[in-house]
Structures are given as structure tokens and as C-alpha cells.
Symmetry: C2
Subunit: 344 residues, 2 copies
């Protein structure tokens, strides 16, 4: 039995290439006292991982060269030396791009998630990486706590068909807001309009995005949940209402940039008294219980829908990740690393 | 008796020129029921006036061509048809660039300030345009309410020798913060260090402002009160601490730009969970009593110092305003339009 792992081989310059990664087989590790050995079933791919590939000081440490890429995982306990876990149980961990990993519930944790036990009868275990996991909670905290949308206001979200954006729009609808998505394609707009019930959707690949947005938002923009930055943020700033709130969740448009590009002119922020607030979901773990209660219920009631974009096999994680940064996925990007015995 | 007025003759492209203004003599207006006739003593010059010269939608209407430039004024009641005011009393009004004007306390007001009676024994009447007026309140609201500085934190302010910046720094000191100014010259740094007791001051005319700031702020930057935007904001964003607050008060660096220039890269805002918040003091009039109580006391106690940069005569208002936008003034820029009988 070997442990397949995807290591960071080179720090990418610009867009990551398959050769920046290396797939290797290593021995399966042995858990020590207080540890569990987990077989990875689902690996989450998220845009933030691009930042971890750089050797730049940030809110979380970089991945070291020769080490496995980091990432949220859902797996099955194979061996346990922790009385709280038994073999066969499902857990959410931060296991990274590998087939097996060690997790420990006490002491130092790697990443934002310790091993959390998952009940496959409550929800499909893969949702702990998506709509009921970090992306869903990012949407919940960013929209409700930071964006503070009021019923009747207009909420715009970019990367609207993605793991976070698709939840943002549905939470805005639940709050009673007019909800407008921005995506990269007509197909994605189709998805958020028909399946997720957004009020409007525009593709950012148009000559004058601000004009198109103005049409889609006849009452202006009160909350802009920004996942992408760049020209999209610039266009939205031309349409914001006084006292608009802009939770800044990501800047996907520049994650592959070798040099940080200039940002938007801040004149509209001053004139309209806009609040731009950068946030990181791991600062808000205190909101986890309320998030799970609300979103768990809405998922069960069918008011909060989700889609998973699954690639099979760890070897394909690099190409799937490169595609994610290009906006190829619809819904939550997952790698199925191993069989999921909870699915029948 | 004629009413000298400075009219907006042309909308400036780039930096205003003296020929964008026109000085004319008009008849002195006659007050109607409920109105007062005011003789202007002091005219305030402020950077925001540059925006009013443009024909662009903003939070306040533009000055129309052929109309007097707008502005805060302190004057003497000459004639009153309002029982609340008597000739010889001093009032704060929004009279604009002219020697006489009509004000009314009821009904529609021009600008943020209605006629407010001033007591020359409480403080020099000109301070109602500076440290105890709109600039002082801008500093008070922006720093305390939006910046939320805690004792021991580091507060940085740009345009630190100006009407707003000089108050921001002193309020930060009163709060117990390390206070660092950014100005355009060594002379201004000298002023804020020696007279206003800032802890450090740097000129932005250096090759690597971020490095100089890093030296001046060994514990990073927790609050940046931004009056200028542009390259200075860009440099500060390289030195901000996690959870820093940036009240955005002005963007002087771009007021003369024909096209809005790009802004700073927002990567540090995301990574450090920074809040950037544009604000306009007139949204916060509810804070006026507390501002006047606190800052009035600190001025009397000598803890809050101020300097006035006075030019004599309304005819010189255009050149003084052009100099203000170039950063030539130290302290509050005022035009003395007429004699001040309250000064002995």
C-alpha cells in the first residue's frame, strides 16, 4: 500500500503548469498516540491555493517545495489512536493533495480545520468541502455579516457559478434581495438563472461591463461580493450606490500575475462612502454553528442548491486546479481521490 | 457698496488656472423675510472645491458656470429679517467666494452649514472654519468613529500639516497612539514634529516610501487616515497590519487628473483583512455636539493646536486655491475677505 501525493515542485511564474507539480508514491504514514490515519476520498480545489504556491508572506504559510500541496479533504478513518475516532468514520480534515494523511484532534493543527466527524445521513459528506464547508461559510459570513444586505437591496456577486458565488446569490435571494451574478460565460449565466434563481446574470466578457451592469441593476448596487477584483470591480464601482458594502473575498483575476497589477480608482469609494473590507473565513470560526444550522436547513429544504464539478483521480488534480483558475468549473471543484462508501 | 464675487468661468482641465475664475462686482443683495445679509470676513479654501468645479455627478452638485464658487464662510450680520439674528453678530454660513451673501436659517440651505451663531469669546471666529469646524470634525469623525484607534496602535496620516491632517495626528496622540505624519516637505515635517508633537514624520518625496514608512512604523500601521490616495496609499498598503482601518477622506493626488488614474493593488487589503471606508463629514452631523465639546476643550487646554495660513483679499482666492492643491499651505487655508472686528 503506497501513499500517492502531489508535491509542489516549482513555484509557478504566472499561470501554474503541470510541470510545477510532481506526483510521487510514498509509504503510508503510521499514526502515533492521539493521531488518526485518514484515507482521502474528496479533495477540495480552491483558488486560494494559488497564493500558497508563492514564497510571499501572507495570512497563511506557503507550501514548501517538495511538500504536498495543502487543501481541505474529506476522508475515512483507516486507523485510529484517538479514542474519539473509530475506523470507518468519515472526517473533514486539512489533508492536502495525497491519498493518505495523519490528523490529530488535539495540539497543533494544520490549516483551519481539525478532524471534524461527518454524519453521512445528514448530508453527502462531500458537501463539507462546499456548500456546507469553507466555501459556503465564506459566502455566509461575507454576505450576511460584512455585506449586511437589507431586503429589497441589490446584491451583485462575481464568479457567480463558483463554489462561493453560487451560495452568495442564493443567500441574497433568501434575504429578499435582487440578485445579479457576473460570470465568464453564457452557460454559467444559464445555470445561475435557471437552477439558482438569480434575478439577472451578465458575462464580464462584454465591451462595456459598467453599462451592462447598469441595465441589470436599475436601482444600483448596494452590496458587491467580490471574488475576482480587476476590471470587474472597476466596472461595479461605476454603478455602486451611496453607502455600498464590498466584502472583498478574493482577487482571482490577479492570482497568476507575476507583478501585482494596479487596482481600481477609488474616487467612487470616496464619493459614495463605500466600505471595502477584505476578509478571510478562518477569522470567523465562531460563526460556524449558526452557518451550519441555517445552511444545513436550507439545503435540506431545497432552498440552497449546489453542484459539484468532480474530476476522478489525484493525478488529475494539477490540471483540474489550472482549469479552476481559468474559470472552467461550474459549482464546487472536487477531486475524487478514492471510493466513497457513503454513496450508494 | 458693491459685492465682489469670484465666479467659475471655465471648467478646468487638469490643474485650475487663474483664468478659470472671474472676479466681478455685483450689487449687494437685499434680504427677504426670514433672511439675513452677511458680510464675509473669512472664506475657507478646501480641496473638495476642486470636485465642485467639474461637471460630474457627485455627492454634492457642481458649481454652475457663471456662478460664485461655493465655500464655508464666517461673517458678520449686516442686516437681519430673521428674529434670531441681529446686526453685528458673527455667523458660520456657506456663503461662497463673495463679499456679501444672503443666508436663511429656515427652509432650503445651501451646503452643509446653515447660519450658526458664533461666540467670539469662546474661540476665534475663524476656527469655525478649521480646527473647530468642518476640517476638525472630519478629523474627529474619520479617526475616532471610522478608524477606531486603540491606545498603543500606530496611526498614519497623510497631508499631515493640513487642516484635517494636523488635527488627526493630535487626536491620535490624545488617544495614546504612535502618530506618524506624511507630508510633502521637510518644513512641514518640522512643523508637525515640533509644534504638533507627532512621533515621526516622513516626506513622500523619497525613492522608496514603503521602506521609509516601515522604519517610521516599527510595529506596522493600524490606522491610515488617507487624504491623498495615489502612491502614498500604495506605499502604506505595503506596511499595514492585519485588520487595519483606512478611513478614506480625500484623494488630493488625483483631483486635478483629467482621467481617473488606477488605484492601488488590493492584494494587501484581502490578505490583511483591511477595511477601506470612504466618508463625507456631512453624513455625520449628529456627531457635531460631541466634536465641539471635546475639541473645544482640547483647544482651550492647549492640547489641540492649529495654524492658519491666511491670504488677504478675495481677489487672491484663486491663486491661494491653486496653491492649496499644490500643497503650499501649512495649516488651515483661509482668505480674509474683510475686516474682523472680533480681533483686537
Amino acid at each position: 500500500m503506497t501513499n500517492r501525493r502531489v508535491l509542489l515542485k516549482r513555484r509557478p511564474v504566472g499561470e501554474p503548469k503541470p510541470t510545477d507539480f510532481e506526483v510521487v508514491d510514498a509509504p503510508v504514514p503510521t499514526p502515533q498516540d492521539g493521531e488518526i490515519l485518514v484515507r482521502t476520498i474528496w479533495l477540495s480545489l480552491d483558488p486560494y491555493m494559488r497564493g500558497r504556491m508563492n514564497d510571499v508572506k501572507s495570512y497563511a504559510p506557503s507550501v514548501e517545495l517538495g511538500q504536498p500541496m495543502v487543501g481541505g479533504t474529506v476522508g475515512e478513518v483507516v486507523e485510529s489512536r484517538d479514542a474519539a475516532f473509530r475506523p470507518g468514520e468519515f472526517v473533514l480534515t486539512y489533508g492536502g493533495w495525497q491519498a493518505y494523511h495523519i490528523a490529530r484532534s488535539a495540539g497543533a493543527r494544520v490549516g483551519p480545520f481539525g478532524p471534524i466527524k461527518l454524519d453521512p445521513r445528514a448530508a453527502p459528506i462531500s458537501t463539507a468541502l462546499g456548500v456546507l464547508g469553507m466555501p459556503g461559510m465564506t459566502a455566509y459570513v461575507g454576505l450576511y455579516d460584512l455585506g449586511q444586505p437589507k431586503p429589497g437591496e441589490t446584491v451583485v456577486v462575481s464568479a457567480a457559478a463558483g463554489a462561493v458565488g453560487s451560495v452568495v446569490g442564493q443567500l441574497a435571494k433568501i434575504r429578499g434581495c435582487r440578485t445579479v451574478g457576473i460570470t465568464s460565460s453564457r452557460e454559467k449565466c444559464e445555470y445561475v438563472l435557471k437552477e439558482l434563481d438569480f434575478d439577472a446574470c451578465v458575462s464580464y466578457r462584454v465591451p462595456d461591463l459598467a453599462a451592462v451592469l447598469r441595465d441589470a441593476c436599475p436601482n444600483g448596487v448596494d452590496v458587491y461580493f467580490d471574488n475576482v477584483g480587476g476590471d470587474v470591480l472597476k466596472a461595479v464601482l461605476r454603478v455602486v450606490n451611496p453607502f455600498a458594502r464590498i466584502p472583498l473575498c478574493g482577487i482571482i483575476s490577479q492570482y497568476n500575475a507575476a507583478e501585482p497589477p494596479p487596482g481600481p480608482n477609488l474616487g467612487p469609494v470616496l464619493v459614495n462612502r463605500v466600505t471595502i473590507r477584505g476578509f478571510i473565513v478562518s477569522d470567523h470560526v465562531d460563526r460556524m454553528p449558526q452557518f451550519l444550522a441555517d445552511c444545513g436547513r436550507w439545503v435540506r429544504e431545497g432552498r440552497l442548491k449546489y453542484r459539484e464539478d468532480v474530476v476522478e483521480g489525484l493525478d488529475r488534480a494539477p490540471e483540474a486546479f489550472i482549469g479552476l483558475l481559468r474559470g472552467r468549473n461550474v459549482g464546487k471543484m472536487l477531486v475524487q481521490v478514492g471510493a466513497d462508501p457513503s454513496r450508494h
